[in-house]
């Protein structure tokens, strides 16, 4: 009876720290799901849309150069309209991917900081729902911008999809402002926060993920600094100069052909420049993103109900994918599509590891609920017996 009582107490304490439909559980599961959704969407986008879209942009730019050659100003304008549409298609998908992942991070970070946020559970739950709702509505709205356009819009340059996306952003801002107020109240309060398993964990998987995540973020910082110092300004100058060379060559160069040799060379160089720029930005952002997710996954190890062996495996898989994707993305400059394929495999490794960890978290919550119900039954039975 004493053992049953102590088990019931332990289960009750754990269930109280991570209650069913509680704010913290919503933030952990919602955050992981948003990150996973954003990553899967990004992988699908990279495989099926990114490269064909870049080819179409190149073709439209070549069409604009040919139109300049033939004195067809309207045709040149139409080519740039097409390029605008293609860039919007790409840009909205990149934004949807990045924002979904960003909101996933925020939700998970707030779950980690949860004990320091001094608000009632109901208020925290309301704010968590707002944040997750904003994290879904904003990326869905951004995704729809390209398809909805300005149809039935009351505004000159902003369509309904943008309005919905902005409303999603407002939900997230309101939620974070509420959490910030709770953090501020926690700071002002003299009462110490409760001890928390997430911040105390020292398991192998947790330590490896925290160390790996820190190193990935540091590598991302250094790569970003190198890119900004060496490449960014040079690429901006090249972008302008190559477009100028295309226009001038098409307009002024003598000789036959729709695309003069100098304009053709500038077109090729422009395509290479765009690839170089996109690849370096993608490597920089992904290495930092994966560093952050490794840090957060490190925190959540106490909530991953898997055997120690599987926890270690998923940690190694996550870090392997986190290094593979950015390195392979950078290697695309030299090795082309095969490296792109390796990068996609890296993304798939990250997705598989996070799906494995999410399964562990869901198992943990199920187990916790089972214990809590059993504990309630034990307590209820005892009380009944006493009566």
């Amino acid at each position: 009876m004493a053992l049953a009582g102590s088990l019931a107490n332990a289960a009750g304490e754990r269930a109280a720290a991570f209650p069913r439909l509680g704010a913290r559980r919503l933030l952990v599961i919602g955050g992981l799901a948003l990150f996973l959704g954003g990553t899967i969407f990004g992988d699908v986008f990279a495989v099926f849309i990114l490269h064909p879209n870049a080819d179409r942009i190149g073709q439209a730019l070549a069409g604009a150069v040919a139109a300049v050659r033939q004195h067809r100003a309207d045709e040149a304008g139409r080519s740039f309209e097409a390029i605008g549409g293609l860039l919007e298609n790409r840009g909205t998908k990149v934004d949807a991917h990045a924002h979904m992942i960003g909101f996933g991070y925020l939700a998970m970070l707030l779950a980690i900081l949860y004990p320091w946020i001094r608000l009632s559970e109901a208020a925290k739950r309301g704010l968590a729902v707002l944040l997750i709702a904003g994290g879904v509505v904003l990326p869905v709205g951004v995704f729809a911008i390209h398809y909805v356009g300005l149809a039935y819009s009351p505004l000159e340059s902003i369509g309904w999809a943008s309005i919905i996306a902005d409303a999603g952003g407002l939900l997230a801002v309101a939620a974070c402002a509420g959490f910030l107020a709770g953090l501020w109240r926690g700071w002002r309060s003299d009462e110490p926060p409760a001890e928390d398993a997430l911040l105390a964990d020292r398991s192998w998987a947790g330590r490896v993920l925290l160390a790996g995540g820190t190193l990935l973020i540091l590598a991302g910082f250094l790569h970003g600094a190198w890119f900004a110092g060496v490449d960014l300004y040079a690429q901006e100058r090249q972008d302008h100069d190559l477009l100028a060379r295309m226009a001038e060559s098409a307009a002024m160069d003598p000789g036959p052909g729709l695309i003069p040799e100098r304009a053709g060379a500038a077109l090729n160089a422009y395509g290479n420049l765009q690839t170089d720029h996109a690849v370096k930005i993608a490597a920089h952002s992904h290495i930092i993103e994966f560093g952050l997710i490794a840090l957060m996954a490190g925190f959540f190890q106490p909530y991953v109900l898997l055997s120690e062996r599987w926890k270690r495996r998923w940690a190694v898989v996550l870090l392997t994918g986190s290094v593979t994707l950015p390195v392979a993305v950078l290697a695309e400059l030299r090795f082309g599509l095969p490296a792109g394929g390796v990068a996609d495999v890296g993304g798939a490794l990250v997705i598989a590891a996070l799906a494995g960890m999410l399964t562990g978290v869901v198992r943990y919550t199920g187990c916790l609920d089972g214990f809590a119900e059993a504990a309630a039954g034990t307590t209820g039975g005892g009380s009944g017996g006493a009566r």
Partner: protein
């Protein structure tokens, strides 16, 4: 919870709220108009070239390059503010594992906060100040961030 840890957590979440407010303002009042401007300037440049008006084409391309330069920095400021806010929040949670005393922790926290707020601000200011001034702020703040993060990595290695 130590004071440096509290300051880092609050500064991180405040930066996230600020970054989202800036992103909201930018998306509603600036971004669509800026993208239309960039596309219009580039299309106009090639249309001038079609008419063999090369001075007009060059002016259009200069306008395009300037608008794109400004747009890149505005978007970069938003994305770096939010990204660095999340790094501050994550580090706040890990703060107890740093192998430093409170005074050293305050120094590291100060460097990280100044870097996280200052780096995107420097990027953004490149649109409004002479480029070297904005770059100087961005480089100084990035240096603080890298030094702070290096100190954190060393502090984790020393352990709590």
């Amino acid at each position: 919870m130590k004071r440096s840890q509290q300051v880092l957590a609050i500064a991180g979440l405040a930066l996230a709220v600020w970054a989202m407010c800036y992103g909201f303002y930018y998306a509603v009042w600036v971004e669509h108009q800026t993208l239309d401007h960039i596309g219009g300037a580039l299309a106009g440049a090639f249309q001038h070239a079609s008419a063999r008006d090369m001075a007009g084409a060059r002016a259009g391309l200069d306008d395009y390059a300037r608008a794109k330069y400004v747009y890149t920095r505005e978007v970069d400021a938003h994305s770096h503010w939010i990204g660095l806010a999340m790094v501050l929040l994550a580090l706040a949670a890990l703060w107890n594992r740093l192998g430093y005393g409170e005074s050293a922790r305050r120094l590291v926290a100060g460097a990280l906060i100044a870097g996280a707020y200052g780096f995107p601000l420097g990027v953004l200011l490149q649109n409004h100040l002479a480029a070297p001034a904005g770059q100087g702020i961005a480089i100084g703040a990035a240096g603080l961030l890298i030094a702070g993060f290096g100190a954190i990595a060393f502090g984790f290695a020393r352990g709590s």
